[in-house]
């Protein structure tokens, strides 16, 4: 059974139209099932695990707890739309270099959340990092290598800032 709703979204820079949707569909459902955006993962559908993290008009959101109807007209950025340069590229690269990826199912959500966090709080200390990333669950790594990766990005960018300042 499909409904009669039509939503217009900007997903990773492209205008996308969803038609025949149900009024109760979550943004996550629409992204994965109607638009085939499988970079957004579905793990709990309660906003507890962060696997479906996206930026919604620039703000970090669990797409499973957002109604697609409420996201009509919004800009949605998934891990695939974060870009291949700058901070997001650095986050991806250090996740690989520091061993922050095992099964990887949490990784797309983490990359979005970490990129968002370091944009807002580039110098957050370890306690703040851990608290701020507590909305993203990883069952494999125990978080040690994820925190190490985030701190490696912070160090690299601090070095870069110092260099730019000279």
């Amino acid at each position: 059974m499909s409904g009669g709703e039509t939503y217009r979204l900007h997903v990773d820079g492209f205008p996308r139209t969803v038609s025949g949707a149900w009024i109760g569909d979550s943004l996550l459902t629409v992204l994965r099932d109607a638009l085939g955006v499988t970079a957004v993962k579905d793990a709990c559908e309660q906003g507890r695990c962060g696997a479906c993290s996206v930026l919604l008009d620039g703000r970090l959101a669990a797409s499973c707890t957002v109604l697609a109807a409420d996201a009509d007209g919004a800009r949605v950025v998934t891990v695939a739309g974060l870009g291949t340069v700058g901070l997001a590229r650095a986050v991806r690269a250090t996740f690989l270099a520091e061993g922050a990826v095992q099964c990887g199912f949490c990784t797309p959500g983490f990359v979005v959340a970490v990129t968002d966090l370091l944009t807002r709080r580039p110098d957050a200390d370890a306690d703040e990092l851990r608290e701020a990333l507590a909305g993203n669950i990883c069952r494999c790594t125990g978080y040690g290598r994820i925190i190490a990766a985030v701190q490696a990005v912070q160090r690299d960018r601090a070095v870069q800032r110092d260099r730019d300042a000279r």
């Binding site: 059974m1 099964c103 199912f105 797309p108 069952r139």
Partner: protein, 778 residues
């Protein structure tokens, strides 16, 4: 050549995973596919009088409805004992048991079809207390009875006692694997009458065997390919949706995507066994263990899953890694109307470690020794006799591990630090930060050992095929084919590292894991680096031998060189060199004459079953670990913050230091979860918290940095001297944390996980409810 054995080589699947393009099983879609869903019994025990699917079948968009009547082959399946119905037919034995499945054009239609199936249940009184499962007035809950297995290990003189006696009961709750990607598969009926499955699993060939039996198909018509697996931890060792999806795809004649959401995942796979345990330790006044008695009751739930093997682990490890002259270790695993339990990381050992380590701490108190000193005094050494009569092989540096971990620097006191305690560093965190004057700190230790590989006479071999050829650009390339399930642990990196080291090539490609090759066995029991790593290495060595023999023959070298080319020629960094023969050519030139391929089957040493007295040589080898935990407890709210964790672990040769670190940190976090957060709660057999909102998992704010020391003595008979590393730290993290809480609050804490309500009202010396009943000594 870089990225060989010993390097922190990167995972080949990593770039796709960080980009969001790695295809997990739940991401797979094909045009025209149907959506499968499962109807589950809401009652923990019920007679099924009638299942009426007529209305559901007639709904527009419904392509197939299947029930027990549609299973063409064997009606039941199971990892060890085939006692679980594909669909409940006449009786359902747990709340959540599958009764029917539907395939429809979309998920919403499939849900509506489930609602349209009429099942006439006659609820029966459920039997959910494992301690009563074998009582004379408890009915048989299954034709096979209520006892999955009983093991009685008698060692030395079980009646011998030391003068110091510690005796108590302990309870462990039900933990869930909670892998992040729920179960999913894409299943396609094939023109040849067979079926093709792309599925997230831990053991392709076991799935195939069970599928073929239930579908009444020859195994070669049941083809499985591993789809991307988002974690496993034991929870994908059993069949869940595979048979249901295959029945639907064959009935509908169309591809079926079948996938669980989180609630169904919690109901759909077996969990870690809850345990009730009684221990009696006796020792000399100086603190030398004289005897250990243990009686264990594991709740296997409604169906067998891997219960018999879990019990063997629990019983044979019940005395811990200690020298024990006399022991009587008895255990049963029983059937109840609770959810089925099976494999989870540690496989029976975490439960008994919680018990024996609590006992050791209390014994240390009783004889006036430090907990570390008592463990050092009693730690097992290679050459010692285990309670099964098995001689402990080596290495097993248990004593060194506990000493190492005790010597690690302690974290600063709770009120120290430049800014003093903050909401981020106190129990309760930002939302409920403790009053610093009401925080008490504790330090605790745990030591454990865990068997590696399958036990009790199993020959769980692994096959790999390796091909060495030239890539399109003319560079040498090794291709590896293995059915080893990559579930996140990093075998894909290890396999490539082995091929680089053995064949001297940079370029290695891994073929998808599937059933076109022989079994690699299960990704469990800390076995794949050893077993499938051994198979890949063996195949590489055979490939090298064949290539060198061909080179020797072509170069006209003497017959003795052709017959044993490895003695005169070697492959090194893209070249073949033979100093004696004056031969040197590039690998690329050698491969111009054609590719070389070999298959190898790796076997571990033979073990034996346990006899009637629980004696034998059941385990291939062991790995040990020791944790130290430091906790702060909020005395008002009963909240715990784990401040620091230190781990010393017996790792064998390290093939990939970064992957090792990831395994031990992840294992520690899962043990932390069992200590203070994770419990799947049942009420009269029904799971009451099957969501991530109610089943709490550790987050980055809950898990401290791990101070990790690896002890790397090579394991004889294992390829490169490796040991499996994923399970041992899960066994020790939980009891170390519980010991630290015990030290902080001075309460016995005989129930795990420790909940906030177990830690308040501390003026009352008695444990709150949850103080165990356990199994009384016979």
């Amino acid at each position: 050549m870089s990225g060989g054995v010993g390097a922190s080589a990167r995972r080949p699947d990593g770039p796709a995973k960080v980009a969001g393009t790695f295809p997990y099983a739940g991401d797979l879609r094909v045009p025209g596919m149907l959506h499968g869903r499962t109807l589950r019994c809401p009652h923990p025990r019920a007679r099924i009088r009638r299942v009426d699917t007529a209305t559901a079948r007639q709904l527009p968009g419904v392509a197939a409805v299947v029930t027990a009547a549609d299973v063409p082959g064997v009606a039941t399946y199971g990892l060890i004992i085939a006692d679980q119905p594909v669909f409940a037919a006449t009786e359902a034995r747990y709340a959540g048991e599958p009764v029917a499945a539907v395939a429809a054009v979309d998920a919403r239609t499939a849900r509506r079809a489930l609602a349209a199936i009429e099942v006439d249940y006659e609820p029966l009184p459920p039997h959910t207390d494992p301690a009563l499962a074998l009582a004379p007035d408890t009915p048989r809950l299954h034709p096979a009875g209520n006892l999955y297995r009983e093991i009685d290990v008698r060692h030395g003189d079980p009646d011998r006692d030391g003068p110091v006696v510690i005796e108590d009961h302990y309870v462990v709750g039900m933990q869930d694997q909670a892998f992040l990607a729920p179960e999913a598969a894409l299943i396609t009926p094939a023109a040849d009458g067979g079926v093709d499955l792309r599925v997230a699993t831990q053991w392709l060939h076991s799935d195939r065997e069970q599928l073929a039996a239930c579908l009444a198909l020859p195994e070669d018509l049941v083809r499985l390919t591993l789809a991307g697996v988002g974690g496993a931890f034991g929870g994908r060792e059993d069949i869940t949706l595979q048979i249901h999806g295959a029945l639907l795809a064959r009935a509908a004649g169309a591809p079926v995507r079948i996938a669980y959401d989180r609630v169904e995942s919690f109901l759909g796979h077996p969990h870690r066994h809850p345990a009730r345990m009684w221990f009696r330790h006796t020792a000399t006044r100086a603190g030398d263990l004289v005897s250990v008695q243990a009686r264990l009751v594991l709740d296997g739930g409604a169906y067998a899953s891997s219960s018999p093997a879990v019990l063997a682990n629990a019983v044979t490890h019940a005395a811990g890694p200690y020298r024990v002259p006399h022991a009587r270790l008895h255990g049963v695993v029983v059937r109840t109307n609770n959810p089925p339990c099976g494999a989870m990381r540690g496989f029976g050992v975490p439960q008994v470690t919680i018990g024996h380590e609590a006992q050791l701490d209390r014994l240390a108190d009783a004889v006036g020794l430090d907990p570390v000193e008592l463990r050092v005094r009693n730690a097992i050494c290679p050459g010692d006799i285990l309670p099964t009569g098995q001689v402990m092989g080596g290495p097993l540096p248990a004593r060194e591990l506990i000493q190492l971990v005790a010597a690690r620097p302690l974290p600063p006191s709770p009120t120290a630090g430049p800014a003093g305690p903050t909401g981020l560093t106190l129990p309760g965190g930002l939302p409920a930060a403790a009053d610093p004057s009401r925080v008490r700190r504790g330090v605790g230790y745990a030591l454990a050992y865990k068997n590696l590989l399958f036990s009790e006479g199993m020959d769980d071999s692994s096959v790999a095929r390796v091909r060495l050829d030239l890539a399109a650009d003319g560079t040498p390339r090794a291709s590896i084919h293995s059915a080893c399930a990559e579930v996140g642990q990093g075998f894909v990196a290890i396999a490539e590292q082995i091929a680089r080291t053995e064949l001297g090539v940079d370029q290695v490609v891994l073929r998808p894991a599937d059933t076109a090759i022989g079994s690699a066995g299960s990704t469990s029991a800390s076995r794949q680096t050893w077993m499938s790593g051994g198979a890949v290495r063996g195949a590489c060595v055979a490939v090298a031998d064949r290539l060198l023999a061909r080179v020797a023959r072509t170069a006209g070298l003497p017959a003795r060189v052709v017959e044993a080319p490895g003695a005169s020629l070697r492959i090194t960094a893209g070249r073949i060199v033979g100093a004696e023969a004056g031969l040197r050519l590039t690998l690329a030139d050698a491969l111009a004459a054609g590719p070389v391929e070999a298959e190898f089957t790796f076997h571990h040493r033979r073990t034996t079953a346990l006899d009637a007295a629980g004696q034998g040589d059941p385990h291939v080898a062991f790995a040990a670990a020791a944790h130290r935990a430091v906790v702060d407890v909020d005395l008002d709210l009963g909240l715990v913050r784990v401040v620091s964790m230190a781990l010393a672990q017996d790792c064998g040769t390290v093939l990939n230091p970064l992957a090792l670190r990831g395994q031990v940190e992840g294992g520690t976090a899962q043990g932390l979860g069992l200590a203070v957060m994770e419990e799947l709660v049942t009420d009269g057999g029904r799971v009451t918290n099957p969501t991530f909102h109610d089943y709490l998992l550790p987050t980055a704010a809950d898990v401290p940095d791990l101070d990790f020391v690896a002890v790397t003595e090579p394991q004889p008979e294992a390829p490169y001297g490796v040991k499996g590393v994923g399970e041992a730290p899960t066994c020790t993290a939980t009891p170390a944390i519980v010991a630290a809480i015990r030290a902080a609050v001075g309460r016995d804490l005989r129930r795990v996980p420790v909940r906030p309500q177990d830690l308040v009202d501390l003026e009352n010396p008695v444990d709150l409810p949850g103080a165990p009943g356990g199994d009384p000594p016979a």
